[in-house]
Amino acid sequence: MNYDIQEEKRAKNIIWTAAEDYSFEPLYLAFNQDNTADVYLNLIIGLVYKWYDKTEIEQLFHSLGTGQRELYEGIFWLGLENAAYEREVPLRPALKELRTEYAARNLKAMHKSASDVLLCALQRGRFCEILGKDSPLSGWKKELLSSLSYSAQLSSCEIIEKTKKIYQTYFRYIPHAPSKKSGSYFLQKVLPAFYSLGRVHSGFVRVHTSSVKETDSPAPAGAFVRQLGVLFQFTHLEREELSKKYVQACFGESMYPEQTVHKIEQSLCTGNHAGLHLLFTRASLMPLTACPEKFQKEIQTFRQQTILQKEKNIQYYRNALPLHHNSILRLSEKLSNALDSLTDEEVSRSYSGRLNTSQAWRAFCLDDNRIFTKKGEHLSAGFSVDLLLDASSSRKNCQESIAAQAYILAESLTHLHIPVQIYSYCSIRGYTVMRLYRTYQENKQNKDIFSYTAAGSNRDGLALRGAAHLMEESPCEKRLLIMLSDASPSDDRCAKEGPFYQNHEYTDSVGIQDTAKEVRNLKNRGIQVLGVFMGIEKDIPAAKEIFGRDFVRIQDIHYFADSVGNMLLHSLLSL
């Protein structure tokens, strides 16, 4: 089932409001058949969190782990719905109307055949009960539904005990202690507890929203995903020239002439990065026929995948347009007042405004009526922002979201007349590719960010050197660099410093220390570096080592623009 993120956020908001708590991620969300958030059911989910012990209730849900899990979960929800309703209805006059509407709507849409499924039969019985109609149930089913009419007086423990007893009596099932969760999943499981039309109608969806895999053993950042036919980051020991042509064919030709590239590499590809290359590109692609012949097929596949990804990025943004538009407005609003206080004033002589008494004589003696002063404002904020996005293959699972969030950020900053430059980086075949989406002046180029595609590994230290080079174009004295990173630099090309020259892989502590060193270098040059860390728990110390205190951890890429907004705000107020 395809729930767009704006309806997911809406569902969560209904739940948080009802629960009077915004600090948790709900285990279930409820949607209508048309994939819009179901107001009543989400309200009930929130009320369950409000009235009952979250840990105990969720523990029982986690313990339902057999083949009949959907039935058991559904039965538990039938009981919880009744209990939460009974408990809240004296405090909320609208609840009765919402419940009746919900029951009538779903009963009408329900197929008679659906009643063959036990859970659907029970649900039909509950709808009839709510609407004051005769129950279609009889015998033990009627008895079961009746025992699921939990009253408002029951505590969490009593509800759990009662539910367990029902499982045992009617299904001879005893829930087991939940196993430790590993891995994460998104919109993972559909629960037919409140279905009224087979398996595709209004129901709860079990969620565990996280774009970050919380596994203990993450796949290496440079994992080879050959089946996609798009990643070729492992080094081939062919000639340098072939590698260069290959990388340029995939990502675009260099935006600088050959001589300039040589100069830049001479100055930047030194120390740990000696012998490596930097490719600054605007993704201007050479004709396929000019590409190395033996790789033409691979290159074509990569280009097709890139185009496909761009379309996906745009589609993703469009699917939740109101949400994204809302994010732009909120971010702009958040920053605008802080910016106002930083904006320079410009005082000029004028025909109206505040009287400048020292100039008043001009009116009488020179007939010059410009004896007033008027304040204008420089539109420039006095600082520029650079956004450096990690585009290594570890970002494969959230490319669309990263593109959307970066676009939100770019649009907000553009609205506020803050010069912003955005680029991503990845490393492949000895080349660290700096893909420039928009420069400080290109206010209408924000849409280019949707070309964001993840591939290859990430040589963070060299990317930071590349960023420093691009930041030289900044029109402002004060410069801020925001880096989206997983604090896990990794490249198949070795670091060239240190005594163990040959086995000095650019990964783990070597990569981290190098990146931290580059961040310090940037700070010494007066550039403020802020890190947005989106990675696994074990890499937090690495993020601290790299960024010091200037980083924020985000669990979900959807918080990227907001977090950057907060960091910017903080930085602006301290400027």
């Binding site: 809406r10 908001n13 409001t17 009802a18 915004y22 006059p93």
Partner: protein
């Protein structure tokens, strides 16, 4: 003596709030000691709403009686301006409202030179007048201004109690003059006051309005409203407040005046959801945000609500 009637009204209200009799007596002595000049009576506020909160009232009255300036810090819709107005009324002092903004400078506050009858003369600003006539200067959203623009207030606010206007004169503050500043913080773009300025105020942290206070306010404004729905509207507002605190919506729809306006429209016979749209939802011009707000309204206020269900007939 219309202004006295107003003061009496507020005083009666305060008695309801159980302000200590000793404080009430001190307020009376203050007003007797500093009668308001006839030409400034128009500046005496006419409170139409009152701040509810015993502790805050006591703290503020004590501070003002001790000659301190007040800084009321708190979120939107915590009643800062209503309270400042109430204080001005209860102490029977003329009020000068000064709304701060980023382009505020010293001359806007103190005054500037102007041309009159062929001469350059000083045109006093609100802070100058307030200081001269012993008014209450309400420095609204003081943290919106640049700190350097506020430096001019330092001498007026600290032990020196003077305003020195370069090229004009150095005037001492009237003993009844007080400055009450308000500030939002934590909201979009607001910044902190610098230490030098903050140290010249005593600070009252304005608490969020409680469910009970909101209910009481609604019942006070709309005596015919049924308790059940006064509670629902109060809960609705608090839910919006919490959503705003958690940055899920902007602060635009968090509008207490908007809620009161909506209930007024309902009293006139407008359907509840339409009235709430006009008073609250449509304050946000973002369609997605409006969906969130309508969801809250739908879960609180029944769709088909008759006038006689809402108000006593």
């Amino acid at each position: 003596m219309h202004y006295m009637k107003r003061g009496t009204l507020v005083l009666n209200h305060l008695k309801e709030e159980y302000l200590q009799p000793a404080l009430l007596e001190s307020i009376k002595q203050f007003t007797d000691c500093y009668p308001i000049p006839e030409n400034l009576k128009d500046r005496l506020p006419v409170p139409s709403q009152f701040y509810y909160g015993k502790e805050i009232w006591e703290a503020a009255v004590c501070a003002i009686l001790s000659g301190k300036n007040l800084l009321l810090a708190g979120h939107k819709a915590t009643g800062k301006n209503i309270f400042a107005e109430n204080l001005s009324a209860i102490f029977g002092r003329p009020r000068w409202d000064i709304s701060f903004h980023v382009n505020m400078d010293a001359s806007t506050l103190i005054g500037c030179d102007t041309f009159e009858n062929g001469k350059v003369v000083f045109r006093p600003g609100p802070v100058f007048q307030c200081a001269k006539y012993g008014g209450f200067g309400i420095l609204d959203e003081i943290n919106m201004a640049k700190n350097e623009a506020l430096a001019v207030l330092h001498a007026a606010l600290d032990f020196r109690h003077v305003i020195d206007v370069p090229g004009y004169e150095r005037i001492p503050l009237h003993p009844a003059a007080r400055f009450i500043a308000t500030m939002n913080y934590g909201y979009a773009g607001t910044k902190e006051l610098n230490e030098a300025l903050t140290s010249r105020f005593v600070v009252i942290q304005m608490p969020m309005i409680t469910h009970e206070q909101l209910k009481r306010l609604l019942q006070c404004e709309f005596p015919a409203i049924k308790t059940k729905y006064a509670e629902q509207f109060a809960a609705l507002f608090l839910e919006l407040q919490k959503k705003c605190e958690n940055s899920e919506i902007s602060s635009k729809p968090l509008d207490l005046r908007g809620l009161l306006d909506a209930v007024a429209l309902m009293e006139r016979g407008l359907e509840a959801h339409t009235a709430l749209d006009m008073g609250i939802t449509n304050k946000s011009f973002d369609i997605y945000e409006q969906t969130f707000i309508r969801d809250i309204i739908h879960t609180r206020i029944p769709r088909h609500l008759e006038h006689n269900q809402l108000f006593e007939v």
